[in-house]
Symmetry: C2
Subunit: 326 residues, 2 copies
């Protein structure tokens, strides 16, 4: 939940005079996103989301996120599209913070994604990757392999108190992945955080992909690996091979994985699991007093990491080589 900055009606009305989106009818702070303050606006022209970017989103990165969303939307990806103000800018300043208005996407995110939804998100991710191929801006991924050692060093002391043996697991995995991480795989724009709460559905139809503050340029198949972790495990942390097959099948219908990508997928999935394990561990060790958000469980990703360590090839994810569904 995230409404950190209270926006007064009077200030908001003034801010909206800079836009051509109609008269303000109502606005509600919404409990969505953990990095920013978000409001749902109703105006005489429709529904919009107002986002105030809090400190964790560096304002120098805003042009990347906002123009990326415009770029993807122009290419048919259903994602939020920033409204331009009367000066042509995609963000301004409200309550002392960078603030943007995006169009509202209908849809609900599935707490328990089903197989059809896994397939749909696979297709959607592949289409997003294709639509991003000609995006001109670049942003390195601070949470890829090059960023993990610093996270490990911040959190190493807290590992074994949380689970005996976790420190050794992290240490060995980090050494291995830093050595083995692939350098020649196809890259491009990735979402990097396409969890179920960032995917809206109407029924089983994907109606929107939201929340781009982690978007960056990186290995495309790493994004696939993140989704394997985020969509294909059950609440008891068991791996659901039917969902994985549906997800990878959906992806492959839009953008077939290369043989190199397929070969690398288990390793990339280990990396994705390590990334969320490390960031969750850091977050769990740094909960401020009176925090609004309960930290997510790091050990969920320790279990997923151990699962991927046991995987030999993409066949274990339910897919035969060359994208043919097993």
């Amino acid at each position: 939940m995230a409404v950190y900055t209270d926006v007064a009606a009077e200030e908001l009305a003034e801010f909206l005079r800079g836009y051509d989106i109609g008269e303000l009818l109502s606005y509600k702070g919404i409990a969505e996103g953990v990095e920013n303050s978000n409001y749902l606006l109703h105006t005489s022209k429709g529904s919009f989301i107002l986002t105030l970017y809090e400190k964790r989103v560096a304002s120098e990165d805003l042009p990347y996120f906002l123009t990326l969303m415009s770029h993807l939307a122009e290419r048919g990806i259903r994602c939020p599209q920033p409204e331009k103000n009367r000066g042509g800018a995609v963000f301004g300043t409200l309550m002392g913070r960078p603030a943007a208005i995006i169009n509202f996407l209908e849809g609900v995110w599935p707490r328990r994604p089903n197989v059809a939804q896994c397939a749909a998100v696979g297709e959607g991710l592949a289409r997003l990757h294709l639509a991003g191929q000609d995006f001109p801006l670049r942003r390195a991924n601070p949470l890829s392999v090059g960023g993990w050692r610093a996270l490990f060093e911040q959190s190493a002391a807290g590992a074994d108190p949380l689970q005996h043996g976790l420190h050794a697991l992290l240490h060995a995995e980090l050494d291995y992945l830093e050595h083995a991480w692939p350098k020649q795989l196809p890259d491009g724009v990735i979402h990097a955080d396409l969890f179920p709460d960032n995917a809206f559905f109407l029924g089983d139809t994907l109606s929107g992909i939201i929340d781009f503050p982690f978007a960056c340029n990186d290995i495309l198949a790493y994004d696939v690996a993140i989704c394997l972790n985020a969509w294909c495990f059950e609440p008891d942390h068991s791996f659901n091979v039917t969902k994985a097959r549906a997800f990878l099948g959906g992806y492959g219908r839009e953008r077939p994985l290369t043989t190199s990508e397929e070969d690398a997928l288990p390793l990339l999935a280990r990396g994705a699991a390590l990334r969320f394990l490390l960031t969750r561990l850091v977050d769990s060790l740094n909960v401020p007093a009176g925090a609004l958000v309960r930290p997510k469980d790091p050990l969920e990703y320790a279990r997923k990491l151990r699962f991927h360590q046991s995987v030999d090839s993409i066949r274990d994810y339910g897919v035969t080589a060359s994208g043919v569904v097993a």
Copy 2:
């Protein structure tokens, strides 16, 4: 901010099948109300608010609140109106909690109410009082004079540590009000919590009165006194006599105060100030670890109480006897 209970899309869709309000398009937890969990729903038939009643609202009181809103709305008061489900009931059960769906009211609440808005809320409060006259259900006010001593006893030890002399102020005021509280004034349905955040405006037009969990049967002029406290002081706690005159003038145009009510208003205003001082003091001494809501400042109401103690008659609120604006 208040979203205590996370509602899964799957459970919500099931719950909505009991209503004839269209297909679910989206829902967002909203940061509004402090007693309950609230969601803004978009369906194919419009916008609605879903409320899950958390433990502080006793479910035996729900029929009172919900039928009151229906009763008032039928008499032209712009307030939320509960949707009936297919069984004709105004609430059901969702995620193990009593849950109701009300229509969505457009409007924004003013952080800095202006004079015209104070006049409008005065008119609106009087119209609410008139519309409630034939409401058949009754609910005693647990937060009127009879409830204050228990609050004082819960919080007495914390008074002087907060402000030197506060304990003596509370003690003497409570003795005085218990003795002097009027028993013969006109009574009826009161909102009992009509603060600016419960009044929606479009421009200076009152577009809705929301949030009825404190509604009850009590002295009508006590509701007027609550609003004097809530609407007619500036952020520096100074009393704005122009706003008070506008508020009382607006009220009087719809429902003129009787002479007895006018005479009692300073005393009722002291009581209203004491009520919010005591509940805020109790809340500030009982902040749970990790609370989502920062407690409101009790001392704001100690200053207001002292102001009302200095008032001789309704003339000091800007109004001559018999409702004539001074």
